[in-house]
Symmetry: C2
Subunit: 228 residues, 2 copies
């Protein structure tokens, strides 16, 4: 028996991603795709970041998960519009799923959309969703060797977040190794050290996002467009 | 343009997995597949477990990674035969890669092979490698909601390891939630709480593995065979 895959999955995704980006640009919305392994702290990052940004921007969130609406419930508790995208076992979000998410949001009333991708350090990196910026998250608990071991996640990121920095003194984590690997892999990406416990790093991260959201008509999409 | 996928990828993997299992059985080897997200502590678990088992069993390790030989170097430092399987970006090991790994090991001189899968809580769960037992690892730092959010990893495990338990007092981790989700998802799987810092749980885990390795000709493959 022969299985024929008629759809060109990746080509199809690229087209859907382009469509999403065109649509977001037309609405003047900046879209940030947050990627990282399971439990690296993506939802907690949003819980800390959204309150710091919403006085300035009208924000919504697309939550990608295999199952459950637990993350969406956490975002809804922030009184932020959220759409849960369930992949039903799929290991990453694709641009068509994001398109469906955008259909459910009042795009004319938004400035900034965060997409929380499925918790997986590998597959999500291969799928453009139409976002303008990529944030790659790594927690201190995962270990300092992860940039070298999972390069695609970090190579294409516009910024890298080292989360759970309150664990730095407890974990065998050498920030020097991380910085060296990042310098080699993706020297233009800034590194933000954060802790939701202490609040460390979120003012800086919010500042970085703010700089990139709709500054006088100049869209923040340049870097991603070049890659697209 | 139409892409034709001639190989039935999953069927092909199933056959290769069956071949691996037959070959391991013929050699009297028990094979344990260790799965879990990036940085959950799979290599550290092996570093703690192998020394506790090697007086009794002749052990080798297959190390799955996207890139680098860092994990294999850590296992080699234990004076244990190890083969690094690089997926070159692939998000899980498949049975053919394991077959190639087995080709490089002296099967006649082994009792126990550990496979450390690629650090990914999703895709590896879908691929039988020919193993007899599956160990699913979750670290305290990842959060207590991960069984509900990544059910395939835990549903099919023969045992679950909660690693980095030295962080339990620091993390917002409710072991009750984990136990409840495990009871619902996979009630027959025992839960081992471990910490490489304190050594907690490794005697129990080593005991569990020992019980399952070649007890008087009765192979430990039953549960996996039923699933295969």
């Amino acid at each position: 028996m022969k299985i024929e895959v008629v759809q060109k999955v990746l080509k199809h995704n690229e087209q859907a991603a382009r469509d999403n980006r065109t649509r977001l640009d037309a609405a003047g919305i900046c879209c940030v795709n947050i990627l990282g392994g399971a439990g690296c702290g993506k939802t907690s990052l949003l819980e800390a970041l959204v309150p710091r940004l919403r006085e300035r921007f009208r924000i919504a969130v697309l939550e990608g998960d295999l199952e459950t609406t637990r993350d969406a419930e956490r975002i809804a508790a922030l009184n932020t519009p959220v759409v849960q995208l369930l992949t039903g076992g799929g290991c990453h979000l694709n641009a068509t799923q994001v398109q469906e998410g955008l259909n459910r949001l009042p795009l004319g009333e938004l400035d900034l959309i965060f997409i929380e991708n499925v918790g997986n350090p590998i597959c999500p990196a291969g799928f453009d969703l139409g976002e303008h910026l990529r944030l790659a998250v790594l927690s201190v608990a995962e270990g300092h060797d992860k940039l070298a071991k999972y390069p695609p996640l970090f190579r294409d990121a516009d910024a890298v977040v080292l989360s759970k920095c309150d664990l730095l003194e407890l974990a065998d984590f050498d920030p020097g190794v991380l910085e060296q690997d990042l310098g080699r892999l993706n020297p233009r990406a800034p590194l933000f050290r954060t802790s939701v416990r202490s609040g460390e790093g979120f003012a800086e991260l919010a500042g970085w996002v703010t700089q990139r959201v709709g500054c006088g008509g100049e869209r923040p999409a340049d870097s991603r467009r070049r890659r697209g």
